[in-house]
């Protein structure tokens, strides 16, 4: 990914004048790993860096304490814009941004109300709602499942949205949800998917980060249908991965870099949902390389498109599960 030359440029920039080119850091509270959310964001960030001739540096962290140290170090190392992401970054960014009012920050996926921070949020539950509706319309057994990462509030954006969508179209459908207990355990995720399959679910959505790979495998083995998250995962196995809930973190990162490079960067909150095309569902909001699986069928997609239009127009309001 990032070449050696970038490192050298950076070092020279550190010593020399910073007029030459802008330097931006993407400081992430976790390791990127195979988490599509971060992978995409990193891609969008780098792409913008190239296009707008900005030095980009991605910094991953292993734990919350390390994240704060990295964030502070990025300030100390004098980057012009520091982008970070997710709820996990909130606390640290609040502190650091408040202490450094002259620095510019951006945070993706959550909101921080500070004059030098631009916040970009997502309404994933809208995407999840669509996915749930599609599942509810497609299921033949009236049982659908979801293998979620952890029993934590964040994940409710997925489980609750899904459930609402499901119930809206198919009230008699049973919703099974199981938690892996971590973001990194495909073996257990697979085991959970098998259990749900055993209970009769014919569609089991993956929402367990790396664990989704286990769910996909179970689907392949047992022949049920599944879906992925964030990017279009249907390409990996169109016969079983029939849908994917989308979240355009790459666009967000790209736009942020672009705005800053072009001098149009503004602090404040921005929010991406279905309306802004920040979240979505394959075939509904965006086309896919892989053909639509017959399990879902065009008819369902058309119905879900209608739901989507209703959400965009405000006719349907999907409740934010975190706002009690």
């Amino acid at each position: 990914a990032c070449g050696k030359s970038a490192t050298k440029d950076e070092q020279s920039a550190q010593g020399g004048d910073s007029e030459k080119s802008l330097r931006m850091a993407l400081v992430l509270p976790e390791k990127i790993g195979v988490n599509p959310f971060f992978v995409q964001m990193d891609e969008g960030f780098k792409k913008a860096g190239k296009e707008f001739k900005v030095d980009t540096k991605t910094i991953e962290s292993t734990d919350p304490a390390a994240f704060e140290q990295n964030l502070r170090a990025a300030v100390a190392e004098n980057y012009d814009l520091i982008i970070t992401a997710t709820f996990q970054a909130e606390d640290a960014l609040k502190k650091v941004a408040a202490e450094n009012p002259n620095k510019s920050f951006a945070i993706v996926d959550t909101a921080i109300d500070l004059p030098n921070v631009r916040s970009v949020g997502f309404r994933e539950y809208e995407g999840a709602y669509l996915l749930g509706a599609a599942a509810g319309l497609s299921t033949k057994t009236d049982k659908v499942g979801m293998v979620a990462a952890m029993d934590i509030p964040l994940i409710k954006k997925y489980t609750e949205g899904f459930k609402a969508g499901l119930e809206s179209v198919n009230p008699k459908a049973e919703f099974l949800v199981n938690y892996v207990g971590g973001f990194n355990d495909p073996a257990k995720a697979k085991e959970l998917a098998l259990v749900q399959f055993g209970k009769g679910a014919d569609f089991i959505a993956g929402a367990s980060a790396v664990g989704d790979l286990g769910v996909f495998e179970a689907a392949k083995e047992k022949g049920f249908y599944t879906s992925g998250q964030d990017t279009d995962r249907t390409v990996e196995d169109p016969e079983h991965i029939v849908l994917s809930q989308l979240k355009s973190t790459d666009t967000v990162a790209y736009e942020t870099v672009k705005d800053f490079a072009e001098g149009t960067f503004k602090a404040g909150a921005v929010n991406y949902g279905l309306k802004e095309d920040g979240v979505g569902l394959t075939y509904v909001t965006r086309d896919s390389e892989s053909p639509l699986n017959a399990f879902v069928g065009q008819e369902v997609i058309d119905k879900v498109k209608a739901i989507k239009d209703d959400i965009v127009s405000g006719k349907i309001v999907v409740k934010d599960p975190l706002q009690q």
Binding site: K31, I32, G33, V34, N35, D151, L176, N178, Y179, G181, G182, N184, D185, P186, A187, K188, K190, E191, L192, L194, V195, G198, K199, V210, L213, G214, E217, E236, D237
Partner: protein
């Protein structure tokens, strides 16, 4: 209840148990020669990773497993060398090994596959699922026993073989003598170091199998830290089973069963945190009934104390 204890559940008990059982048997061998191996977690992780690398290199599961065995044996040889020849405290070495494995696999993931977090290739073929001819048609039993990866069956065979080896064969007898009193064993010309090396290397083989079962049997991929504490559970199983193959199997089954049960209990409005706690609580309770202080303490003493 019926829904809870269906055949599939016992099937998953077997699957969940296998990596733990294999690693715990390795741990038992080490204990039997007086080395307390806290590094099981790391060895299994390396096993899981190198199985995937082997599969990537050779495109053949058998070779992949063999490759994994060789790599893990190298690391267990390192464990043996440092704790036997360089007389380091085995517990320190084990803990360091865990760190090393975590760092090295993540590092190598990037160095070899140029990916982060996980390596996954949908064309990769995992271990086959064996359908056992006659048994698979028996209604309940078939669901439980048939259709697992060969390593599941191998694990059970190894238990029996190891039980026989340790308690019936001459070589197993000598192996046990090393753990019982290494100085006495040495004094009658038993090659203590050789046997210790043998046991540790064998532990490496078993951990490699455990790892392969994780990355090629249960799923077909490698993810960072995918052992997720199974090595430590194996350690618990080793001690709970008093380094006795059958005992180790008993405790591994207990753990696999509780884990399978806890998955199914998630459906029943109990907070998941508590269902996940369950296997550990039950293990604690089991310890209450099966305790053999002397054995555990000997193992520790042999492992060297930090004092």
């Amino acid at each position: 209840m019926q829904q809870l204890f269906d055949a599939a559940m016992f099937g998953s008990t077997l699957r969940i148990m296998t990596p733990i059982l294999l690693a715990a048997l390795g741990g038992a061998l080490c204990s039997r020669v007086g080395l307390f191996n806290v590094g099981l977690e790391g060895l299994v992780l390396i096993g899981a990773f190198s199985a995937i690398v082997g599969n990537y290199l050779f495109g053949n599961v058998l070779l992949a497993v063999l490759f994994s065995i060789i790599i893990v044996m190298l690391f267990s040889a390192l464990f043996a060398f440092i704790s036997i020849n360089l007389k380091a405290n085995a517990i320190v070495v084990g803990i360091s090994l865990n760190f090393l494995a975590a760092g090295l696999t993540t590092f190598a993931l990037r160095a070899i596959f140029d990916v982060k977090g996980a390596y996954y290739d949908k064309n990769m073929v995992g271990l086959p699922k064996l359908d056992i001819p006659l048994i698979k048609d028996i209604p309940w039993v078939g669901t439980v026993l048939s259709g697992h990866s060969p390593l599941v069956y191998l694990g059970i065979i190894i238990v029996i073989a190891l039980q026989f080896y340790l308690f019936k064969s001459v070589s197993g007898f000598r192996l046990r003598s090393v753990g019982e009193n290494p100085i006495a064993a040495q004094s009658i010309g038993i090659k203590v170091r050789g046997i210790q090396y043998g046991a540790v290397l064998m532990c490496g083989v078993l951990c490699a199998l455990a790892g392969a079962q994780l990355s090629l049997g249960q799923v077909t991929m490698f993810t960072e830290g995918m052992t997720a504490g199974r090595g430590f559970i194996a350690l618990v199983a080793t001690m709970l089973g008093q380094a006795n193959p059958l005992g180790v199997m008993g405790s591994s089954i207990l753990f696999g069963f509780m884990e399978a049960l806890s998955i199914r209990l998630q459906g029943f409005s109990l907070p998941t945190h508590f269902t996940m706690m369950l296997p550990y609580i039950v293990t604690l309770v089991a310890m209450f009934f099966f305790k053999d202080r002397t054995y555990a303490q000997d193992a520790l003493k042999a492992g060297g104390s930090s004092r």
